[in-house]
């Protein structure tokens, strides 16, 4: 990035002009300064000169100076204070525009000293007679809250803001709602927006009269309301429906959210329910004729809507047809929705389109179109035959990437319709040599292994892959291993040598633990009981279905409640990715009154079984299915090994309390003129707390306590003042608990968990440092998805791995897992190999760093081994110390 500096001469010249007596010259100079600022040049050196221009009755000049102030006040806090008087005076100006401007600008100056002076003017402006001032002041409360939340609460501004929801002016109402919503985001459990039928009525009235942006805030707020019954629900829907015809697409989508959510409560046989369904389609279609960026967001949301209520858009397939000049991101989304809407009624049309797309220029798009044909075959049984022949046509084009995609999807079609289309295998085999992508190679190998008995030269084909075994990707290696074992079980006489070869390649020459493990299991299976091996490996596989592409229903419900938000664009719950949303509440669709339908799907289970081991869900490849069909007799000779291997449930025991180290003396009385401080750290319900014991060992009373931290590795900072309310008399001891936040300034410390603290009282300021257990930074949502865990573990380079010993620990692995879980160290999976339990664990730190760990526990051996892997290897040591401390206490 370029760095901009203004040369000294230019600064000097501007300085002279700013101090000119001529008004016009002054204004032009300030304009030049602003112009430099907007392009990113640093003109902070002119601060005093610009602020001097502030006292003026020329509004334009005033506004320009304010613009400057907002940008630079933070870097020059002491000088910014010079501006306070003018602000306070302006807040009393007879012109409402000036009053509003002053309070608005003051809120943008993020300097503590200024915010202190802001409180009184703000209080007046919130009750100003002019609604323009009130609406500006409402937003100012949100600004102030961002700078100093405690101050806002102490000053009672939140209550005033709540009162503004009943203001007579709709614009004031809208801004109050917007400000409260923003504040509520950082206080998920506060009932700031406590909605009741009266306030809902006020919001609905304001909705008709406020600006388009205000309508968005109000609609988003309405969406959080839980109507008491279906009648209230219907009446809200009726009043929201006109918003569907708004020209602003954000208003439309927010209205769709409210309707989708409240519809849930309406009885399906109600006439109004049908009317509402019909009303939803046209505005959604219209969104697709807007600018491409709007289309993209609309399409991501429509994707959710068609999964929840396919009936809304089932007749609108054609609007999702891809146009030649759509941007690629729109094309890909449209394709996805086409598949979701595909049905027996429209499949011919869809297939014709997809075939058309498969001959376009854009490679990504062509690939996805080919995949889409496969998904159609799986979704609409009647079309399978036509899909397969279309795919064969495409293979004939010999375009390399088209062929590879086609083979990948044909493999899925085989799994959905076994023994139906195997006649095409010969054609597929012709293209064996042109496959250079791992996924396509793996798919082809799977096909050869699965249908080995029908392919005369299956052994030759597989052998040809074996030559470059070590250069293949893991996916291909695993598939090759399985395929050759299948081949051996089918044609044992000719392929003994081949299977020996692959087993030794997998178990002896490979560094990949997954491959080794799978190799050993096959080896043992084959040598112990070939009949059982046959039953396991060649077991009938469960059919795949299109459901693997669908969003899991509980997540879908949550996402429907978040239509129009970033969550809906990423198809992830907000808690998963929005930074700073501390403990977002999970939203659920309201249940129909009187109905007791549970929504926990049996589908989740198949999702785990299908997806865990093979990579893609459809790639389970005979292996993922094993536990379901494994004969019981097999467990015995294996010593329970296999059973444990697949029991990945992880020990979820009774929650124990998180580990809290005992208090230690941090500041001895001798060093602090009689003040003794001891303390510890704890994490309680997601809040980090510093627990202090203050003892007065001096002869005089101590008052005015305050605390401050130096910058530290994880940005720890007091989230509020130190609550020592009454003076501390001699020989008195009090216990104080100080909540901490992790949003303070960051600086790397040595050791990493070192914290330097300053405590002040009426006598002096004292400094000490202490070390906190890093476990208090482990957040509650630190449980990683298994697939993600596997991928991340592989992804982190090996040099980031460190190994430690934990000695003399007499817990079994389940007890250890429970204990660790209580401190937010989550066990993702557990497996047992040769009497050794391996626990795979994940931890998430408050700053978003993930730490992965493997704990090995050998029965009867009190020494554990822990391997820690993290992208920031410097935390490994601290994490190990914590695990040790947690386990031993």
């Amino acid at each position: 990035m370029l760095c901009f500096h203004v040369c000294a001469g230019e600064i000097f010249e501007l300085k002279a002009e700013l101090n000119s007596d001529k008004k016009e010259k002054k204004k032009e100079a300030v304009k030049k300064v602003i112009a430099s600022m907007t392009v990113g040049k640093d003109v902070s050196a002119l601060f005093p000169d610009v602020v001097n221009c502030m006292q003026t009755d020329n509004l334009e000049l005033k506004k320009l100076v304010y613009l400057y102030l907002m940008n630079y006040a933070k870097s020059q806090p002491d000088m910014a204070i010079m501006a306070v008087n003018t602000f306070v005076k302006d807040c009393e100006d007879p012109n409402p525009l000036i009053r509003a401007l002053a309070v608005r600008t003051m809120g943008c100056i993020r300097v503590d000293k200024i915010t202190e002076y802001l409180c009184e003017p703000l209080r007046k402006c919130l009750k100003d007679e002019d609604p323009y001032v009130r609406k500006t002041a409402a937003v100012c409360v949100a600004k102030l809250h961002d700078i100093n939340a405690q101050l806002v609460e102490d000053q009672g501004f939140l209550d005033t803001l709540k009162d503004l929801i009943s203001d007579s002016n709709p614009m004031v109402v809208a801004n109050a709602v917007a400000a409260l919503s923003e504040i509520a985001e950082s206080h998920p459990n506060s009932n700031l927006l406590d909605l009741n039928p009266q306030s809902i009525n006020k919001l609905l009235t304001a909705l008709n009269e406020c600006t388009e942006w205000g309508q968005i805030f109000i609609l988003d707020c309405l969406a959080n309301y839980a109507p008491r019954d279906d009648r209230e629900s219907q009446s809200i829907c009726e009043r929201v429906t006109p918003r569907l015809s708004h020209a602003n697409s954000a208003v439309v989508l927010s209205a769709v959210k409210v309707l989708m959510k409240f519809m849930e409560m309406l009885p399906k046989d109600l006439d109004y329910y049908g009317t509402l369904l019909k009303k939803l389609a046209p505005p959604l279609v219209t969104l697709l004729s807007a600018e491409p960026e709007l289309q993209y967001v609309a399409l991501r949301n429509i994707n959710l809507i068609v999964q929840k209520r396919p009936e809304i858009l089932k007749h609108e397939m054609k609007v999702f047809f891809v146009k030649y000049n759509d941007p690629i991101y729109v094309k890909l989304e449209k394709l996805d929705i086409m598949i979701r809407l595909a049905s027996q009624a429209n499949i011919a049309q869809v297939l014709a389109e997809l075939k058309e797309y498969a001959t376009e220029v854009d490679v990504d798009f062509v690939r996805k179109a080919v995949r889409a044909i496969g998904r159609c075959a799986i979704k609409v049984e009647q079309s399978a035959e036509r899909c397969v022949s279309t795919l064969l046509d495409l293979i004939q084009t010999k375009v390399n990437y088209v062929v590879q995609e086609a083979i990948v999807v044909i493999k899925d079609i085989f799994r959905k319709y076994p023994n139906k289309y195997e006649s095409v295998i010969a054609t597929l085999c012709e293209n064996l040599d042109s496959l250079d992508e791992p996924e396509a190679r793996a798919a082809m190998i799977w096909i050869v292994g699965e249908y080995a008995e029908r392919i005369d030269n299956a052994d030759e084909l597989l052998e040809s892959f074996l030559e470059g075994f070590h250069d293949e990707s893991t996916q291909v290696q695993l598939q090759l291993l399985t395929a050759i074992v299948k081949l051996f079980l089918k044609k044992p006489t000719e392929t003994q040598e081949l299977v020996q070869q692959v087993l030794s390649l997998a178990t002896q020459d490979s560094d990949n633990p997954d491959l080794r493990d799978r190799g050993y299991i096959y080896w043992r299976l084959l040598s112990t009981d070939p009949v059982a091996a046959k039953e396991v490996v060649l077991a009938e596989k469960p059919l795949i279905s299109e459901e693997t592409d669908l969003i899991e229903p509980t997540l879908l419900e949550e996402l429907i409640c978040h239509i129009g938000t970033l969550a809906s664009v990423y198809h992830k719950p907000p808690s998963a990715f929005v930074e700073g949303s501390r403990g977002v509440m999970h939203k659920r669709l309201p249940a129909r009154t009187g109905s007791l339908v549970s929504v926990i799907p049996s589908h989740t289970l198949s999702f785990f079984l299908g997806g865990d081991i093979g990579g893609s869900a459809a790639m389970g490849a005979g292996f993922g299915a094993v536990p379901a069909v494994m004969p019981a007799s097999l467990n015995a000779p294996m010593g329970g090994g296999l059973g444990d291997l697949f029991d990945l449930g992880g020990g979820v025991g009774m929650p124990l309390g998180a580990y809290i180290p005992p208090k230690t003396v941090w500041l001895p009385a001798m060093k602090a003129k009689g003040l003794e401080i001891s303390g510890t750290f704890a994490r309680r319900a997601g809040v980090i707390q510093m627990e202090l014991t203050l003892t007065n060992k001096a002869m005089s009373v101590m008052t005015d306590f305050a605390i401050q931290f130096n910058r530290n590795s994880f940005g720890l900072a007091p989230a509020g003042p130190l609550q020592v309310l009454s003076p501390l008399s001699p020989n008195q001891t009090i216990e104080v608990s100080l909540p901490l936040s992790t949003v303070g300034p960051v600086m790397k410390m040595e050791p990493l968990n070192n914290l330097q603290v300053a405590v002040k009282n009426n006598i002096d300021v004292f400094y000490f440092s202490c070390q906190y257990p890093i476990s208090m930074l482990f957040v509650e949502d630190g449980k990683m998805e298994r697939q993600v865990f596997l991928a991340t573990w592989k992804d982190i380079p090996n040099e980031n791995e460190s190994q430690f010993q934990i000695k003399d620990c007499h817990l079994n692995s389940d007890a250890a897992s429970n204990k660790l879980q209580a401190s937010n160290i989550f066990t993702i999976a557990k497996r047992t190999v040769e009497g050794q339990d391996m626990l795979y664990m994940s931890i998430k730190l408050s700053n978003g760093i993930w730490v992965l760990a493997e704990l090995r526990v050998q029965t009867g051996n009190p020494n554990y081994t822990i391997s820690v892997k993290c992208r920031a290897p410097e935390v490994s040591q601290c994490v190990f110390q914590c695990c040790e401390a947690v386990l031993k206490n």
Binding site: L59, V139, A179, T211, L253, P282, T286, L294, T565
Partner: protein, 418 residues
């Protein structure tokens, strides 16, 4: 809410930044520039990008990227709508939206941005409110300002800011009172190889230019309003009247605005005004091929089709073309592989034809992908859906305004597969 805005030109330079909360370092744009590098075309940059600490939401408009930075959960459509509003504001104030214009007026743009958002919340986005706060530049005004020392910044609270009709300012006066409405329809269509319609719809818009004194209350009715499948209105339109009587009743903003947009997607109502006879062949040997195009009128309701422009995206291996056009002229851009044939007016008696040979890169195989053909056209005095304005009435004011309605049909995304 919206944290910051960066304006980025196509070569990746950031030429303006505005922060509504704390200052975000411009290095955050690196994530965007990286995505820009990856995309083939500037149009293909994904509009929502996540970075470790922020989300970047961008639009590409008038050859510029408008890139906003957000930190908390904000409806992305809200951000995108706002960014388009910024572009429209610049267009409205300075006559065009380009890097040069913005750089020339950088302080005023900055002042305007400050008026549009407060702490990331929209403050004033209505053009008439903004114009009362900060007056648009005119040569006369800048002369007057220099002489009198007055400024471009209004010091009164704009009247529209708080009224329930924020789109209209009070005290409007004209000597000639007039109201013009343009009904503009665009046909989006995909025709397949045989000329059959795969998909067709009409996007319609009613643009208004209303210069009426005082507080006029207008009613506009159509002969056949049931034709419309979906409508979106300017906030001034009273929705209840439309629901019950299918008339547009409104107090208009002053000047130019979009009164409504609508959508007709019943396939049988969408007339296709032209047909294309086309053949494109490549020789098996792979050295070249032949192209033959003819365009003719189809359902034109007796009107003339004008401004016909045919754009063909050729396969990548087509090196040059040697064609002969019976009407209009053609150009072939070897870099983008786009053939443009500018025909002009269609004469039903003598159909325009373009034919000749294509030459391929030596050694290149016969192209697999099919070229695609896009058509632009214009038909004056016709709304292809058949929509007709019935009457326009004015209430609330005494004078007699001059009224006029114009119709025009254009091709939108009109695509023919070859």
């Amino acid at each position: 809410m919206i944290h910051s805005l960066f304006l980025v030109n196509p070569s990746g330079d950031i030429f303006l930044e505005k922060h509504w909360k704390s200052v975000v370092s411009r290095s955050v744009c690196d994530y965007f520039l990286e995505a820009r590098e990856k995309a083939l075309d500037p149009e293909d940059v994904p509009p929502v990008i996540s970075t470790p600490h922020h989300y970047l939401i961008s639009i590409y408009r008038d050859k510029l990227f408008f890139l906003s930075v957000i930190q908390t959960e904000v409806p992305p459509l809200f951000v995108i709508e706002f960014l388009h509003r910024v572009a429209e504001m610049i267009q409205d104030y300075f006559g065009e939206c380009s890097e040069t214009v913005i750089k020339d007026n950088v302080v005023m743009v900055y002042e305007l941005l400050e008026e549009m958002l407060d702490n990331g919340f929209p403050l004033a986005t209505e053009s008439n409110v903004l114009k009362e706060m900060i007056r648009p530049p005119t040569i006369l005004r800048s002369v007057v300002n220099t002489l009198t020392g007055s400024s471009n910044v209004g010091d009164k609270l704009p009247t529209g800011q708080l009224s329930t009709i924020p789109w209209r300012r009070a005290g409007v006066k004209y000597t000639n009172n007039e109201a013009y409405f343009d009904v503009v329809e665009e046909i989006d269509a995909i025709l397949d190889r045989t000329g059959t319609t795969v998909f067709a719809e009409i996007q319609g818009v009613v643009e208004a230019c209303v210069k009426l004194s005082g507080m006029p209350d207008l009613t506009l009715s159509f002969m056949n309003p049931r034709l419309l499948d979906d409508v979106s209105f300017h906030p001034c339109v009273r929705y209840k009247r439309w629901e019950s009587e299918r008339v547009l009743s409104f107090i208009p903003p002053d000047g130019n605005f979009t009164l409504m947009t609508y959508h007709v997607n019943a396939q049988n109502l969408v007339a296709i005004p032209v047909y294309v006879k086309h053949s494109i062949n490549f020789f098996e040997s792979g050295s070249g091929g032949r192209l033959d195009l003819t365009v003719g009128p189809k359902q034109t309701m007796g009107k003339t089709v004008e401004g016909v422009l045919v754009t063909v995206h050729m396969p990548k291996t087509v090196l040059s073309v040697s064609l002969n056009a019976t009407q209009g002229s053609y150009t072939y851009d070897n870099a983008t592989k786009v053939l443009v044939w500018d025909i002009g007016k269609l004469n039903p008696q003598k159909l325009p034809n373009l034919r000749g040979s294509l030459s391929l890169q030596t050694g290149a195989p016969k192209p697999e992908e099919n070229p695609s053909l896009n058509i632009d056209l214009k038909i004056q005095q016709l709304a292809i859906s058949g929509l007709k304005v019935n009457r326009l009435d004015m209430f609330g004011e005494k004078y007699k305004p001059f009224k006029g309605v114009k119709y025009i049909t254009k091709a939108g995304k009109f695509q023919v597969r070859m």
